[in-house]
Symmetry: C2
Subunit: 149 residues, 2 copies
Amino acid sequence: MPVEPPHPAEDVLEHVGYRLKRAHAALRGAMDKALREHGLTVPQYACLEVLAARPGMSNADLARATFVTRQSMNVVMRGLEDAGLIDRPGTVETGRARPADLTAEGRRLLHAAQESVYAIEARMTRAVPGQRLAALLEDFDRIAQALDG
Amino acid sequence: MPVEPPHPAEDVLEHVGYRLKRAHAALRGAMDKALREHGLTVPQYACLEVLAARPGMSNADLARATFVTRQSMNVVMRGLEDAGLIDRPGTVETGRARPADLTAEGRRLLHAAQESVYAIEARMTRAVPGQRLAALLEDFDRIAQALDG
DNA sequence: TCAACTATGTCAAAGTCCTGACATTGATTA
DNA sequence: TAATCAATGTCAGGACTTTGACATAGTTGA
């Protein structure tokens, strides 16, 4: 059992950043566990999920959407491509960006994984009082915006 | 410019998990940048910060407090020890847990880093309406608790 | 007492992610 | 038109983190 904080109000463990980190760690852990049963990692799942909502996104697009670097997304996509879950043209008429899309197998696996992940989402949603959910989402956005600038 | 979502309400990018991830990514990025100027990584800073509030914590304690594995914290602490920022006895009378403490240099560096980090904390705090801050912290805890169980 | 259980520290291997760098492509501008 | 700029994909290297495993130390209960 951890020691009790001597000065709660001044303790780091009470800070916004720490709480945010804690909530994110819990989410990450739950998703890791749920996705392992489907043979997916969190970044892989995120890539499939975004790609399902926005077909034809490029590597750089997906990297921005999932908050990783282009280089990281590059290896993620190569793994997904090797596994036959996504597909993209070897060459393209104009530009360098190759639009990616889910394969039938990718769509099937995503649907299976979504059941597990959406259950986690539901646990989060139920955990916060209903009338506060919209405000919570708004606060998330405010925080992200305040720190990105 | 990213494409607009076709069905906002059903889109993943609107989900709680995605927003949480986004806010956390923004925080992580801001802290990475701020701490680099002090020669610290986020896990290293987290270790020092927790250790300042709870002197004498062991490796396993710190790992739990900062949401990483014992193994990860082990390399973090070895780095901090080599850098002369923390100190712990080579052996201990009972048990295996070696209580760690900040050195004078560690305390000095932490204080310097705290200025940068607390400025980030302040940006977050200002970004959310004052009357919502307490509810936000509470919601963070509810989410963490709902997902840890 | 002794066996089972839990907790801790550590090692090894693999995966993941990042920084830095470079070449290519398209857009912008002088 | 030509030069500059921004964006993309990719490679290389290193840093970080995790999973898995093992030995050690303390606790619990038969």
